[in-house]
Symmetry: C2
Subunit: 379 residues, 2 copies
């Protein structure tokens, strides 16, 4: 009777309403029924990204969506600047190199984010055709100032390609206002869906580059998706079930209102961070993302025991560990999607119990009390 709750920064829990929709009999995608559904989903996606740009849907992981952006939207006569402050920034460097692009990396220490000033300085050289940034770097639980970076890039001919995989639907994100030329996301994050879909919002400025470039790939050629989108269609067989779930999930999000969803996510994140501090623990990031919180383990905690034996198996709460250089050194808690104040309070309690079981003295109840105090502002 212990309920399983996913606090992992993807996959996140899928609402029963979505699961039930996806369990209904399949239907064919070359039908008016699909077109009508896809049209509704496409409207919902625009509201999610706060954009009037085309939002494309690809059957694949979030990585596939970002690869499509990098492969198709970097002008070949210019360099591409990739901000690398974590595992995902690192991945986009690799993708750019696979396509033989001329890559410059701006590295930032894990737990810190690239700044608009750094981007401005680089762009002043006039060498860059595109800038790739990670809005919310999931591996370090760190968010950058995407609005500020967008303002710098918008002054130039360069395109801004943003990994919004753990930001879209969680952090404030205004694609048009901020000048984000391509924003990519994945279904298993704030969209509250199983993994298997990537979305990319593409600006008119980006389409100009894409249309002038011979795509170096086929399935991920954005042009093919644009061509069919006008007819509410897709170039290759779509993941119909997931798109169907997406319609329900988007309806749930927009019934609340996207700005309110952002505010709620921020409140859950704040409650978690403050509760951890009240327990004497340390938040890893210097610019914490509100979609995921990274918490540094106190000396001597066994990561596997804490996360698997205590939190998951005893208290029904799955959290993620650290990655690469942070493996075994921190745990990460998602605030995206289908999670709420009572879940968050429960998670704080589970952390208190987990720390105690792992031999760390924390004042049990103090974290929960602090979180409760903050969460009363939920609405």
């Amino acid at each position: 009777m212990i309920k399983q709750r996913l606090f992992t920064p993807g996959p996140t829990d899928v609402p029963p309403e979505v699961l039930i929709e996806m369990a209904k009999p399949i239907f064919h995608h070359r039908t008016q029924r699909f077109k009508d559904m896809f049209a509704a989903v496409n409207e919902g996606l625009k509201k999610l990204f706060v954009t009037s740009n085309d939002v494309l849907t690809i059957a694949g992981s979030g990585t596939a969506g970002m690869e499509a952006a990098i492969a198709c939207a970097v002008p070949r006569d210019k360099k591409v600047l990739v901000a690398n402050g974590g595992k995902f920034g690192e991945r986009w460097v690799k993708v750019a190199k696979v396509y033989g692009l001329n890559v410059d990396e701006v590295k930032s220490e894990w737990g810190t984010a690239i700044t608009p000033a750094q981007v401005r300085e680089k762009l002043a050289t006039g060498q860059y055709g595109a800038v790739v940034v990670v809005h919310s770097e999931t591996s370090t639980a760190t968010a950058c100032d995407l609005a500020g970076i967008g303002a710098e890039v918008a002054k130039t001919d360069a395109l801004l390609l943003a990994d919004c995989i753990t930001s879209a639907g969680a952090l404030p994100l205004k694609v048009d206002e901020w000048g984000v030329d391509i924003a990519g996301t994945g279904s298993q994050k704030a969209l509250m869906l199983p993994p298997g879909l990537a979305n990319v919002a593409v600006s008119a400025k980006a389409w100009k580059v894409i249309e002038n470039l011979k795509a170096p790939c086929f399935y991920l050629d954005l042009k093919a998706y644009r061509k069919t989108l006008a007819k509410q269609d897709v170039p290759y067989t779509p993941a119909v079930t997931l798109i169907r779930g997406m319609q329900v999930a988007l309806d749930m999000i927009h019934a609340i209102g996207i700005e309110k969803v952002w505010a709620r996510t921020a409140l859950l994140a704040k409650a978690t961070r403050e509760a951890m501090k009240a327990l004497g623990m340390t938040v890893f990031s210097k610019q914490p993302s509100d979609s995921v919180t990274g918490i540094v383990y106190p000396e001597g905690v066994d990561d596997k025991k804490f996360r698997n034996k205590v939190l998951r198996d005893k208290w029904g709460s799955s959290v993620a560990g650290g990655q690469d250089e942070m493996e075994g050194k921190m745990f990460r808690v998602s605030h995206m999607g289908y999670t709420d104040p009572l879940d968050t309070l429960g998670l704080v309690a589970a952390v208190e119990y987990g720390m105690t079981d792992c031999g760390v003295k924390v004042p049990v109840g103090k974290g929960v009390a602090r979180a409760a105090e903050i969460l009363k502002d939920w609405n």
Copy 2:
């Protein structure tokens, strides 16, 4: 109360057992639970392809799987021969060209298949590093002699890359015995799943080429999937829900036995073809595939009225139309996956009613009687 049945050659109906499994709460993919499930799925996939080769799982459509094969497994110092006798053969030519490969096409008239003799003759020139064939060309409902082609390719250093999207789990397919170096499929066909997964079975001969080649893509780089497969893992977030459904679907298939599934599919196809002939209608293909039957419209039938108004809306049976040069000239009926003799009889009756409603005189009942006679051999 009219039941909707999909006789489209993808998507095919998904069994309720699979839908229910996919409706259960999501779980994380970086867990022992996922590894155990994936291990079972991987065993089931090997039995589906009758192979001891690695079978990889990619979140994407069948096209993504075939693109991975073509992009990663054609040696760059040789030409690639692509058999093009329909819409999918045509697509693989396009994919090969996107990667700048030196492509030769062997075209065959729609409704006919490339022969082992044609392949032998081409290979005798020593120019080819790989041969791409479509085992069952869905657009023309035509199957080639993959065993015979495999025997020719196996005598050379060339690789055989086969689109088995509507053959795996439907037509006899023995990957190891026939020497198929890469066999690709998609989830929404004989596997009875929603779209969103591609599988590729890769031989040791193919791995030698792949490992020596710098992949020109990232998400579809087969090497990354091989590396993680050894640990029952995947390189990028997998479509967990679909893999979970796949476990149930594979269990259903293997509980019957793969050879019996092939025989049953063949019987449904034969019953459909013979019933159509009994009605005085013409099967389009000269080498008909047992996974899908293409039937030529008699003069004067309105495709949209026949398929949508009568078959689908009145009788609850969705069939596919013709594509490209065959648009409006034929309809196609799938025999793959979750369909059985009584469904098939019903479809034949619906065709009889549909033809009548579209102004074509057919002897109503004669097709059904012929199908019933053949289907008594079901076991």
